[in-house]
Amino acid sequence: MNRRSPDFHPALRLIHWLMVALVFTMLFVGVGMVSTAGPAYVSLLALHRPIGIAILALVLVRLPLRLATGAPPLPDDLPTMQKRIAWGSHVLLYLTLFAMPLIGWGMLSAGGYPVQVTKGFTLPPILPHDLRLYAVLREAHTVIALLFFALILAHLAAALMHGLIRRDGVFRSMTTGHRRVPATTSEHDHSEDTVRPLA
């Protein structure tokens, strides 16, 4: 474990981008299946559940890994308020990654539905059969999904600001990582600014 590393752990980066694909698919499938009573509804619903459970499984691996390997420090010149917002938004992202699949699972349980993930794989209910509970969770599933999409857009825009405008290495810490350079380099990594002459 090296908290001084300027990058997220490679395994975290891999899970991050895998989850990007899954979560985007999930959000688009989700609003798409709600929008139609056509045959796509059945096919999209059949995709929605296994992807949701896959996201839950991945975040169960990801959070301990993130806590164990830490995050690279944000640039010193970033205002404290922005650092706090960054921290808070990441907590919210993790919370939602847990909450959405669990709400989906709980909602089906409360609705008296079998939690059929795939044709041959059904999960047990995690909540009692209760229509009032179902109604609340069903509503929450939609509202949180829309807020989640907005949060992801803000996260993406912030990441791109770091990568394209500030060029402070934050974007790189979740993508290709920093080139290994001798330990004598300054604390600040400006490798995204320009191609540096050999230090």
Binding site: V31, A37, Y113, T122, H129, Y134, L160
Partner: protein, 359 residues
């Protein structure tokens, strides 16, 4: 270096464009922009329009019902068509619901409408099969747009109690399948009991056997009780809950039974239109016996808070290419969520029992 360089401006533009593109794609996926889609809410809204108002807390269709419980005894023969555990030899618990078509939970029973049976069949290995069936081998419409149009066209005029002919005529001209269905309903026997009706799967389904062979199947539950029809000329004279009281009285005396017949499609049978009956001889398998030995009002039974979504199927049974199945699933879900939010209310049968109790 200028504080806001050309490079920075274009970087902002790129970021803005990416975010806008994603918002646009999301809005398109959600159907907020682009061509108008029919969703579940459109179906429930059409049903509410037909009923005259939303009946809060009730199913938007087949609102009047009664719960039952019993069992299904599979005889093993159905395994020739499907790997579903329900077809293996054994007795499996069943809950279900008898209902009459329409959105009014207190409507009278003397109406020439669907008599329906819904079931949830569970096997010990965790498989679940939900069925929602009507007493007619055909359905009036084949797709969701026509279903919505049907609900709008057949809204009873408060003055006459009948659909407005000015709306109905052009609708029937555009929908010969509805005209054919109405002609069928005029002639068909209207069962005088829930217990002596044959209940049909409405849609075709895809059955897969242990060898991986897939066949298109429709099914029907055929009653042991002999079919006797109601006098269709005097339906209005029937007591409000005549059919429901009949099944309560009948079940108190003894159970009712049906045989599950699986019909395999012949080459050339229409599989994607519930409006078209399969005629002539078909390979038919008697897969087992359904026994209903208890009925309960919705207040105390297990059926009220259930969605009898016909696309909840065990392995070995899947939806066919009939587009009505997705529409039914979506519409039932929409109705289910609405009544879950609204909270449930008393049923016609429950009210009868409460009155009897008060006496």
């Amino acid at each position: 270096m200028p504080p806001f360089s050309r490079a920075k401006a274009s970087a902002f533009a790129v970021i803005g464009a990416i975010v806008l593109l994603l918002v646009g794609a999301f809005a398109w996926a959600a159907g907020w922009i682009g061509p108008r889609r029919i969703n579940g809410g459109d179906v429930t809204a059409a049903l509410e329009y037909n009923t005259g108002k939303p009946e809060h807390g009730y199913r938007r269709a087949h609102s009047k019902g009664i719960c039952f419980s019993g069992s299904f005894a599979g005889n093993g023969a159905g395994s020739a068509l499907s790997t579903a555990s329900a077809f293996k030899s054994g007795r499996y618990p069943v809950i279900g619901r008898f209902s009459l078509a329409g959105g009014n939970p207190l409507a009278g029973d003397g109406r020439n409408v669907f008599h329906s049976m819904a079931l949830i069949l569970k096997t010990p290995d965790g498989q679940e099969w939900r069925l929602a069936m009507d007493h007619t081998p055909i359905f009036p419409v084949a797709d969701v747009a026509s279903f919505i149009a049907l609900q709008r066209a057949t809204k009873p005029d408060p003055k006459t109690g009948k659909p407005d002919p000015a709306v109905m005529k052009p609708f029937l001209a555009a929908h010969p399948e509805v005209k054919a269905f109405q002609a069928f309903m005029m002639k068909a026997v209207l069962p005088n009991s829930f217990a002596n009706a044959t209940y049909y799967s409405i849609n075709a389904f895809r059955f897969t056997d242990a060898g991986g062979t897939t066949r298109i199947v429709r099914w029907q539950f055929e009653p042991e009780a002999p079919l006797v029809g109601l006098d269709k000329k005097h339906l209005e004279a029937m007591p409000r809950d005549a059919l429901f009281n009949e099944i309560i009285a009948r079940t108190a005396k003894g159970p009712s039974r049906w045989h599950l017949k699986l019909l395999v499609a012949n080459p050339g049978d229409v599989t994607d239109k519930a409006t078209v009956a399969w005629t002539g001889p078909h390979r038919t398998i008697d897969a087992g016996t359904l026994t209903i030995d208890a009925v309960q009002p919705e207040e105390t039974g297990a059926c009220r808070d259930m969605n009898f979504d016909p696309t909840i199927l065990p392995p070995g049974i899947a939806v066919s290419d009939d587009p009505l199945l997705a529409a039914r699933s979506k519409a039932y879900s929409s109705s289910f969520t609405r009544r879950a939010i609204e909270g449930s209310h008393s049923s016609a049968v429950g009210e009868d029992l409460a009155k009897e109790h008060a006496r």
